[in-house]
Amino acid sequence: MRESTAAIVGIGESRVGRVTDRSALQLQTDAAQAALADAGLKMADIDGLLTTPVRVEHWNMPCGVVAHHLGVRAKYLSTVDIAGASGCGMIHQAAMAIATGQCTTVLCVAGQNLLSHSTRATAVKSMAEGGSAHPQFEVPYGPLVPSLYALVAQRHMHEYGTTREQMAEVAVTLRHHASLNPNAHKREPITINDVLNSKKIASPLHILDCAIVSDGAAAAIVTSTERARDLKMKPVHLLGQGYGCRHSHIGDTELTTTGAVDAGAAAFKSAGLTPADMDFAQIYDCFTITVIVELEDLGFCKKGEGGAFVAGGRIGIGGELPVTTHGGLLSAGHPGLGGGFFHVIEAVRQLRGEAGERQVQDAKLALVHGNGGVISIHCTLILGGVAA
């Protein structure tokens, strides 16, 4: 295992769900203050800031807007935009900024009031127009983000015999995890039949195969391993990372193998670890099929075996590989680009042993994976509760 140079020393979440009384900046402030309190730090201790773009407001330079709003005098600031992989990307880019000596303590924060800001119609419209479809060669044919992932699901079912029931089990398992997460948006248990009989969106995906839309923000504070020793919380170390991108649009590419192959391999290599070493995995879950494809591409099972891998309770807490233990984008919350950042926050909570009812026993090593676009751009982190 490689030596850690950076550690996450504070985490925080705003209220998640339908939060009608907070703007995007207020939600981010709530998350940032929670992370500072967790770390035992003050805003004045922060000298680096990373954030992601938001959809509900026009911020011409999101990192500048957020830094100013919070009163951070940043020696380093940047807006990370690798779509849904931005949450993972922020942690690694914070570590790089610290490693070059540019700053010592970075606040990473993302989120917005995506649900309460938009009506159903504007949310669908913005997904259709601002989403991942090519403006000239895809949008005219009428896709939505779910229809793009539906192409992946249909092809995976065709090539490997993956079933709708297997995909549904992802939704059911993650909803169970969310039921154990007091800050999750959707907590009522669901069954396989609920998923199979939910409203059809784009075959083979039904609405319970799709991520929800939420209000909420998350924050994490990254500092050097050395400085982390003096802080109050047990540090969670960044042990490895990788990136991958094999396409930008889904219509012109292979559908069942993704850049997660490259991101995962690079992350494991840099950490000197393997999938078998992971105690749990925080897998990006914008759709049920996403989890199945990513588990294959990251090496937790062979290509084509993802459907069987997620079945039979194996990705539940107490299973062979607990996956996305906070409930993920399918159930815990999805406020846009900040959605994947909650996967990181949960990994830290688990590795500290603070996950309460949903604690994974002896959780020492975790993989966190972010995916953006339509299984387009990937960032994988390996996190550990102990430094090498």
């Binding site: 009428g142 192409l151 995906l205 559908l255």
Partner: protein, 145 residues
């Protein structure tokens, strides 16, 4: 549904705005020809259009007419319209088609009931005019249903 009926119910659909890089594609579509870039140096076809060949990085790309034949690589039946323009068109089919020449593209499958579309089904291009400037290539089954 026929391409004509699909065009009628979706007359407000968002149409592409051709630019310097894509003008020849849309010009050819107006003439009911399907063209995609082919590399003069290595012979590789690609789509969507880029400035350099994705196989050998050569800029020597030439818009080349292709057969218009291919097969359904994947598809989805859309039940939830992305915008009011498509609200009376549902259910309709979006597909990734693998062209005989290799590249994939996104399209609608027309001329067949949505629930009869299958992966690997042979399809051929048809052209549907939406405006003076824009004709969209769509695909229909080679064997009439």
């Amino acid at each position: 549904m026929t391409a004509q009926a699909f065009a009628r119910v979706a007359s407000e659909r968002p149409l592409p705005v051709p630019d310097a890089a894509t003008g020849p594609y849309w010009q050819a579509a107006r003439e009911e020809r399907l063209v995609i870039p082919r590399c003069d140096d290595c012979g590789h076809y690609h789509f969507y259009p880029r400035t350099l060949c994705p196989q050998c990085s050569s800029p020597a790309l030439k818009w080349t007419q292709v057969s218009g034949h291919g097969a359904v690589y994947s598809f989805t039946v859309i039940y939830r319209a992305p915008s009011p323009a498509f609200s009376t068109a549902v259910p309709y089919v979006i597909a990734a088609v693998k062209l005989a020449e290799g590249p994939h593209l996104m399209t609608n499958i027309v001329g067949i009931a949505p629930d009869a579309v299958r992966i690997a089904m042979p399809v051929q291009v048809v052209f549907q005019k939406f405006s003076g400037e824009i004709t969209l290539p769509m695909f229909e089954p080679v064997e009439k249903q």
